[in-house]
Structure formats: C-alpha cells, structure tokens
C-alpha cells in the first residue's frame, strides 16, 4: 500500500512539473533575432547556398527553424 501511495505521489508530481513547464512563458519571445552573425575565422556554421544570388523577401522573415527542418529532410 505504501509503495502504491508513493508511486501515485511521484506520478502526480511529475504531471505537475510537466504542466508547469508547458505553461511557462517563452522567455525568448521578446528577443529580437540575431542576424548577420559575423562568425569567427574558421567557424563554418552555415550551409552552402543552393543559389548564389540573394533575393528580396518582401518583409518575410527568415525562419531558421524551418530551414533546419528542411535540412533534416534532405
């Protein structure tokens, strides 16, 4: 019985922590994005461009998360 009560308590605590974490505000929501990062010499975080030319994006923001997902799929 004691083991059962402990298990239920542990489960309830885990659920409470998970719920709290999901409801926590994203502290980065108001962080402007870093753009044009000038990486140090020899630091190569960027991927080769498919197209060399730059294009106008008409106000559409570059979404790094989308690009990463795309990379995973290629």
């Amino acid at each position: 019985m004691k083991r059962f009560v402990l298990s239920v308590s542990a489960f309830a605590l885990l659920m409470a922590i998970t719920t709290a974490a999901q409801n926590a505000p994203n502290k980065n929501l108001n962080e402007p994005p870093k753009r044009g990062i000038h990486w140090t010499k020899g630091h190569k975080p960027s991927r080769p461009s498919k197209s060399a030319n730059m294009t106008w994006h008409n106000g559409a923001h570059y979404d790094q998360r989308r690009y990463r997902s795309h990379l995973l799929g290629t």
Partner: protein
C-alpha cells in the same frame, strides 16, 4: 534602408579609462563610410521604400560607462540603444561596441532590430576584439591598432547587412545569408579608401550584379560575387 542614420555607442567602463584609438578611429570610419565606393557596393538592392543609397550620415558617438552586457541577449543591446540614443529614428542604425572580450563565443558581432517606444530601430552588437585572433583581419594599414582594425572590418559587414536586410525581410539567399555573410573573411586588397580618405582593411559585400556579370572577386565558396569598391 535607403538611407541609414548611424551613431556609435561605446558601452563599458574601459571606454572612459582606456579607449585607445578605437573611439576616434570609428568616428573616422563612420564619417568616411557614407558616399564611399565601399558603401555603393550595396546600392543595387531595392525595397518597398526605394533603393539603397550611399547616404549614410554619422551622428557621432556616445559613451556609456556602465558595465556592458555580453551579446547573448539582443534585448539587452536594444535596451542600451533606447537608453543612450536621445532621439532614435526609424532609419537609425546604432552600433554598440562593448569592452567585453568574446571568450568562447563563436562570433564577433551581429545585427538586429527592435523598437524604442513606437520608433523602429536597427542596431548591432560588437565584442571587444583586441588580441582576438578569431576576429582579426590582420590589417597592415599603418596608424591603427589591431583592435580598431578588427571592429572596423566587422562594422563593414554589419552595417552593409543592416542597410540591405534591416528587419529580416530584405535581401538574403536561400540559406539566410546576407550580403556581408556571403563575403565574410574575404579581402580583395590590403586596404580600401573611404570617402574621407581613411583606409581600412575590410571585407567585401555580395553583389548579385557582380556575380551574374562575373566581375566580383571570390568568396570562400569560390563564388565571384564580392565587391569592395576599391
């Protein structure tokens, strides 16, 4: 930005006690950037409000001797801009030079954007680059310290990008690289002369036109699209 109104903020106590040649040097740099052939390398790009021009007036510098933050939080840099700049403008570009070495950070600088009240602003963050081999252009131009040469080179990168992609909806390639990113750490000549006669070792900026015409010099990927206006 068709015209960028620039100002520099030197943030940190050591800018008061030991500025070296960096504050006066960057005053010279910004004063000569406008109407330079180097600035003109970004002028082929257009936006909804017109074409980028070499009109880049410099409003001078501000020194804030309070302890600077690092670059991890862009909101802290934006807050510094809003604190220090008395009358920010929508086409303002405010470069924040801190006195903090980058340590293990893998970057020398970045640019970003936000708002001071209801006024949109553009800004950039720079580490202190004295004695930092990762951010050193290895300039041979006489009469300047290594630390000044380093922030001067990186300033060309960030300002050019802010002019062509000020708020992350402008000009960049399919990888998200802006015109400075695409030519980072590529130098065509030992020094480029600005409109006031000052000379700087400075990276090129990407030109679609030069790439398509085959008239640029190569970036690290071998693409001949970089120009430095020399």
């Amino acid at each position: 930005m068709t015209s960028a109104a620039t100002a520099a903020i030197f943030w940190g106590p050591s800018w008061v006690t030991s500025p070296g040649d960096k504050i006066s040097g960057m005053d010279t740099w910004y004063s000569g950037f406008g109407n330079s052939n180097y600035a003109a390398t970004s002028n082929e790009y257009t936006g909804t409000n017109g074409q980028v021009t070499s009109s880049v007036p410099y409003g001078g510098h501000f020194v804030d001797s309070t302890t600077a933050s690092g670059g991890s939080k862009t909101s802290a840099i934006l807050a510094e801009v809003c604190k220090v700049i008395p009358n920010p403008v929508a086409n303002g570009y405010y470069a924040v030079y801190t006195d903090i070495p980058r340590g293990h950070s893998g970057y020398c600088a970045y640019h970003s954007y936000g708002s001071c009240g209801s006024t949109p602003v553009q800004f950039a963050f720079f580490w202190k680059m004295d004695g930092d081999p990762g951010c050193d252009p290895q300039s041979t131009v006489a009469g300047e310290s290594q630390g000044l040469a380093a922030i001067a080179n990186v300033s060309g990168h960030e300002l050019s990008e802010a002019r062509t992609d000020p708020r992350n909806g402008g000009w960049y390639d399919s990888s998200g690289q802006e015109n400075g990113d695409k030519c980072a750490w590529t130098f065509n000549v030992p020094s480029v002369t600005f409109s006031n006669g000052s000379q700087w070792k400075i990276q090129g900026e990407w030109s679609n036109n030069a790439y398509n015409a085959g008239t640029g010099y190569p970036n690290t990927s071998g693409q001949h699209g970089c120009l430095d206006g020399h």
